[in-house]
């Protein structure tokens, strides 16, 4: 019998593979399995992505924030050589006019500190820009938040990104089905975009911090008030696409007074007394969520970003400055089905109710 013909008829017709074939197929399967396992491990290990995050304690807005932010930036390895000559756009969270409600927007003191730090590092220009999601009236928001007066005193220019000239650019993320994103020319003309958010809960996304803050780069003139196209595409997906496309260089989080409950606007003030900084916004947000006593694996855009835009696993994030446990403050979240996954009972139990002892810190670090 012709062996070759037998092989073509297949095993149902009495074909018996040779030792070489058995080992060949087996080897291929093992190799494929090994590769797949390796890929899974690689993904589990967030594709080798690692990042540094700095946490600094800040008791209030009257603290020496220039030194605090300056030290944090230095800890991240950012120096004069890197900053000199750069045009830097600071993107605060100026979501709403807020007379008497300082927990709604990024505090002007944090923005002023960042301006001063970058000027001292010889930045060519530091500007502040925002595209509010609900309000078309930027001047009103600047008036009522106190940001307008602060920027005037610092002689820093503010740009209304909602009404800026806009440019279509390729969507570098593709989590949404949007082929292009329209970005303000001002944001494209700078060297660095620095997200300077407020640490807040968010009734749709769970948490709003460094990454979600970049929603406020998208011009309302194209996306509307609210930016409904992005909502229709999914808030998490849109956050990922915007971050992949804008490629922010740094974030400085105002966690001195944040917001809990019905954020990002109607919630209550919550003092976390810290500033969190880092070059990788995904890692900073994961750390910020841990600082809030919440579960980063329950935040949709963070699990989407994990291994793609940055790390969220604690083992892949090097915490500098204060440990998380030293500033962890439990933030209340609305009791809604879509938010339950970000409330971690384990983390809540770890919340320090008094100043943290060394023993408690050591116990926390074991986890």
């Amino acid at each position: 019998m012709d062996e070759a013909n037998d092989k073509r008829t297949g095993p149902a017709h009495g074909w018996k593979p040779s030792r070489r074939e058995v080992f060949g197929v087996g080897g291929a399967l093992l190799l494929t399995g090994g590769v797949l396992t390796g890929l899974r491990q690689w993904k589990r290990h967030e594709r080798g992505l690692r990042a540094d995050v700095v946490i600094a304690k800040a008791p209030g807005y009257d603290a020496d924030l220039v030194s605090l932010v300056g030290d944090g930036v230095k800890e991240l390895g950012i120096d004069r050589r890197e900053v000199r000559g750069k045009r830097i756009l600071l993107k605060p969270n100026l979501v709403e006019a807020s007379t008497g409600r300082t927990h709604v927007n990024t505090d002007p003191a944090v923005i002023l500190a960042a301006i001063e730090v970058f000027r001292r590092l010889d930045a060519r220009e530091v500007i502040v820009a925002e595209a509010q999601g609900h309000r078309r009236d930027s001047l009103l928001v600047l008036d009522e938040s106190g940001m307008g007066r602060a920027l005037e005193e610092a002689d820093a220019a503010f740009f209304d990104l909602n009404h800026d000239e806009f440019v279509g650019v390729n969507n570098a993320g593709h989590w949404t089905s949007l082929g292009s994103l329209y970005l303000p020319k001002t944001a494209l003309d700078v060297d660095w975009v620095v997200s300077v958010p407020k640490l807040k809960t968010h009734h749709w996304a769970g948490v709003t911090c460094a990454m979600k803050n970049l929603f406020g780069v998208m011009p309302g003139i194209v996306y509307g008030w609210p930016k409904n196209i992005l909502h229709h595409q999914g808030i998490d997906n849109s956050i990922l696409d915007i971050n992949a496309t804008v490629k922010p260089a740094l974030t400085i989080v105002d966690g001195i007074v944040g917001m809990e409950g019905d954020g990002p606007i109607m919630g209550s003030a919550k003092r976390a007394k810290c500033v969190i900084m880092g070059r990788n916004l995904t890692a900073v947000d994961a750390t910020a969520v841990r600082v809030m006593g919440l579960n980063p694996y329950g935040v949709g855009y963070l699990t989407g970003a994990s291994g793609e835009l940055g790390p969220i696993h604690e083992r892949n994030i090097t915490q500098r400055g204060e440990p998380i446990e030293a500033v962890r403050t439990h933030f209340n979240v609305l009791d809604l089905p879509h938010l339950r996954s970000i409330v971690s009972a384990w983390l809540a139990r770890k919340e320090p109710s008094r100043p943290v002892s060394e023993r408690a810190l050591r116990r926390g670090r074991r986890h």
Binding site: R135, G168, Y223, H232, D262, M266
Partner: protein, 262 residues
């Protein structure tokens, strides 16, 4: 908006005819006027373009009638997408109105612009306009006034905005007085005293003027706001709104009011 303001202040036609012609050039074959000649969407400025062409009609003649007709047709064909009824938000998500961006949900400001434009072309009684009016009334905040177009999210009642309240009151001019409108005027009159930004000041006075509730010191307050704007934030849109608000019979209202039922 600049064309409307210039026409309202009796500026010679050739000064704003270029603006009207530019709008005609930007207009797409389907009648829509997008935010920029570089894109086909969004086209929420279409309502404002209709108002500009209508306001310019008596000064430059009927040359923009085809623009008006096509743009009005596009407005009537464009609607916000319905969302399933939900307890998460306070408004009736099945009312369609007009969206900022085609294919998305409806909001207060674009709905107001569309209503103003369709009234200006004699379509006040059209079912789409009547539905738009119902939408605006549905989205009035419990304490009066409007924000971007939502009254409640989960358990929190939201706050009104001065500028949007002025815009919506302008769009409702000509409607029969109703409790939500009275409450909104009652909110806006004192709230307007606390703001200095030209966008809010301009629209606030336009809205109050539309309902014969213009404060006596409107002109001096507008002048103060204009000086501040000139010194601190020169901007064509701000100048335009303050100029429009300075006219005691606001042209937006003059060309759009009438019997809402035809």
């Amino acid at each position: 908006m600049a064309c409307i303001a210039l026409a309202a202040h009796g500026v010679e036609p050739q000064r704003f005819e270029n603006g009207l012609a530019w709008l005609s050039n930007v207009r797409r074959p389907d009648g829509s006027v997008p935010v920029s000649s570089a894109v086909s969407s969004p086209a929420w400025p279409t309502g404002l373009a209709v108002l500009a062409w209508v306001c310019g009609r008596e000064r430059v003649g009927p040359r923009h009638e085809p623009d008006i007709e096509k743009a009005a047709h596009w407005l009537l064909a464009t609607r916000g997408c319905r969302l399933p009824p939900t307890d998460e938000v306070g408004h009736d998500t099945t009312l369609q109105g007009w969206p900022w961006v085609e294919g998305t949900h409806s909001w207060a400001e674009p709905t107001a612009y569309a209503i103003l434009a369709l009234r200006a072309v004699g379509q006040a009684a059209h079912p789409r306009v009547r539905e738009g009016v119902r939408l605006l009334l549905d989205r009035t905040l419990p304490s009066g006034g409007w924000n971007y177009g939502n009254t409640r999210v989960f358990d929190s009642t939201l706050r009104p905005f001065v500028a949007t309240t002025g815009i919506v009151l302008s769009a409702l001019a000509g409607e029969r007085s109703a409790a939500p409108i009275d409450a909104s005027i009652a909110y806006l009159t004192p709230a307007l005293r606390d703001v200095r930004s030209p966008l809010s000041v301009g629209w606030g006075f336009i809205g109050l003027t539309a309902w014969n509730s213009r404060p006596n010191d409107a002109r001096s307050r507008l002048a103060r706001c204009a000086v501040r704007t000139r010194n601190e934030q020169p901007n064509t849109l701000y100048d335009t709104l303050l100029l429009l608000a300075a006219v005691e019979s606001c042209p937006l209202v003059r060309v759009t009011t009438g019997d809402p039922h035809g």
